[in-house]
């Protein structure tokens, strides 16, 4: 007799890997350290492009350039700085395709920033197929 399983047909899920790090420590890093970090990110990115895991990814300008926007009673309120002042700031992200959390964690652990800061791994919510979305970025 055939056994039946209730499993999703989707072979993979998307995970957003948020890269947090201490900006002030990065500012005081030597030129050589910064170059090494840049090269390491280049290698890592090339690696996950090649393996087919990468969907998107970017580095962000420092938190000092951030603006926080809220709309209250119809009025737009803007304040300087990130939403939350924390010791580690959001510095970049990767959007990856992985078969499960363990694979996403393994990818996150290879991000160069994981060695000095932290990576938050967030599963991306699955929305109905007819939900509006842009054409996928190449």
């Amino acid at each position: 007799m055939l056994s039946l399983t209730l499993k999703t047909l989707e072979p993979t899920m998307q995970y957003l890997l948020l890269i947090y790090g201490n900006e002030s420590a990065m500012k005081t890093a030597t030129e050589a350290d910064r170059n090494a970090m840049f090269a390491a990110y280049g290698d890592f990115t090339a690696g996950i492009v090649k393996s087919g895991h990468m969907v998107a990814g970017d580095a962000l300008q420092p938190a000092s350039t951030a603006t926080t926007v809220r709309v209250r009673e119809g009025k737009t309120l803007t304040t300087d700085g990130p939403f939350a002042e924390t010791k580690e700031q959001l510095g970049g992200y990767y959007l990856v395709e992985a078969k499960d959390l363990d694979e996403a964690i393994k990818i996150a652990a290879r991000i160069p920033g994981a060695r000095v800061g932290s990576i938050e791994v967030r599963p991306v919510m699955i929305l109905p197929p007819d939900y509006p979305r842009p054409a996928r970025r190449a």
């Binding site: 056994s3 039946l4 197929p129």
Partner: protein, 422 residues
């Protein structure tokens, strides 16, 4: 009829974890598997009395549960389709996929290991790991787990719901970790089991019966992990953990009086120690130490073994215990290990030597707020006949102590030194 209900209950107690482990793999969902299992046991209660116990009860239950789950899903898909458009839009995702045929006796060990590693996944909070392990692998109800950990049942239920939600939503895989992750993941599993075991002895008020069942449950889980070891050759850790739990638990009947008062190791009636457990613990420890360098569990088991081997408190080889604590400190440098080391030094080289170490620890402030440090100082001061200092230290310990058995013990000692005036 009554006898048949007992048969079902026995099969339930013995097989629940295994069946659940397989059902979670087959159905791909914890809640679905739990509901299906409950339905299958209900069916067994109805059918076995008339038809007799099936030849392979476990296979019968798995088959019945699986069929029930599939019926339920079919029905809910039909009912939900109109009501919930999003759900129906996602229907392809919930389609039935024929899986390779499972034999009726699948590799049960593999499923149990998958379940253990999923419940103890490091991306779940430790309290969720503990709750999920006890609920799915142990035979404990949500209410029992709540009582054991002194939280309201609703809180424990929510904790379990959130953990299962995370497994589903973040897609924590139902698999045994690969070789490169195994050492770390195995140590998470062992930590959960030992945490359950320690909770049984933490004796911070609460239901003593439930706590006792936590101890039994931890040993059962430790045994299960050892039984599954043939699937993970070259890993001796779980045997050391089981040895440690068996050796510590062997003193269970000697460590409290019938009134619930704590009896310290020196004063325990060693005839009450469970020799069968000691024997098993010692031989497991032997195997572990031969197989690999000792980890923290094996070293603690080795310390417990020295106590277990001493027929009388005076026969204890304290010199060796001191050496073992020193080794333990090199791999697990915690102030608690320092405290135990200092107490062992006091037994081996005299109270003055131990007190010097305790005073250093006291000054460091690393154990500030922990009642056992002033309690240990008080004991050594008492043995050095420094009555006034001892009384002060006992008072300090009493101000910090949380559990009733320890409080009564400290009060007794204090009363001996400083009898309350009538």
């Amino acid at each position: 009829m009554n006898l048949d209900a007992q048969t079902v209950a026995r099969v339930f107690a013995e097989e629940r974890g295994r069946i659940l482990a397989t059902l979670i793999r087959v159905l791909g969902d914890f809640d679905l598997a739990e509901d299906a299992l409950a339905a299958a046991f209900e069916a067994a209660l109805h059918q076995w009395p008339g038809e007799g116990e099936p030849e392979k009860p476990r296979a019968w239950l798995i088959r019945t549960a699986r069929n029930k789950a599939i019926d339920d899903i079919r029905r809910s898909l039909v009912v939900d389709r109109k009501r919930d458009e999003i759900q129906s839009a996602m229907a392809p995702e919930h389609a039935f996929v024929p899986a390779p045929d499972d034999a009726d006796e699948p590799a049960v060990g593999d499923d149990l290991l998958r379940l253990i590693f999923t419940c103890c996944h490091p991306s779940l909070a430790v309290d969720a790991q503990v709750a999920l392990t006890l609920r799915t692998l142990g035979g404990l109800s949500t209410e029992e787990i709540a009582r054991a950990f002194l939280v309201p049942t609703i809180t424990m239920a929510q904790r379990l719901v959130r953990a299962k939600q995370k497994i589903r939503t973040a897609r924590i895989p139902y698999q045994v970790p690969d070789e490169s992750d195994l050492p770390e993941r195995l140590s998470t599993v062992m930590a959960v089991i030992y945490l359950v075991f320690n909770e049984a002895y933490a004796a911070t008020s609460g239901d003593t019966l439930v706590r006792k069942s936590l101890g039994t449950e931890a040993i059962r889980l430790g045994r299960l992990l050892c039984d599954l070891m043939h699937l993970m050759p070259q890993r001796s850790g779980p045997r050391g953990l089981l040895a440690l739990m068996l050796l510590q638990d062997s003193r269970r009947n000697a460590r409290v009086t019938p009134d619930g008062d704590l009896v310290v190791l020196d004063d325990q009636d060693r005839r009450l120690w469970d020799q069968e457990q000691i024997h098993e613990g010692l031989s497991l420890l032997d195997e572990t130490l031969r197989a690999a360098p000792a980890d923290t569990y094996a070293l603690q088991a080795a310390i417990a073994a020295i106590h277990a081997r001493a027929g009388h408190a005076d026969d204890t080889d304290w010199g060796q215990i001191v050496a073992l604590y020193a080794r333990l400190f090199t791999i697990s440098p915690s102030p608690i290990v320092m405290l135990n080391h200092a107490v062992a030094v006091a037994m081996s080289d005299g109270p003055a030597a131990g007190l010097r170490l305790l005073d250093q620890l006291n000054v460091s402030g690393a154990l500030a707020g922990y009642h056992l440090l002033p309690a240990a100082r008080a004991d050594l001061l008492r043995r050095l006949d420094r009555r006034v200092d001892a009384v002060a230290a006992y008072r300090e310990a009493l101000a910090l102590v949380g559990n009733e058995a320890d409080r009564r013990f400290l009060q007794r000692r204090l009363a001996e030194l400083d009898p309350p005036r009538a």
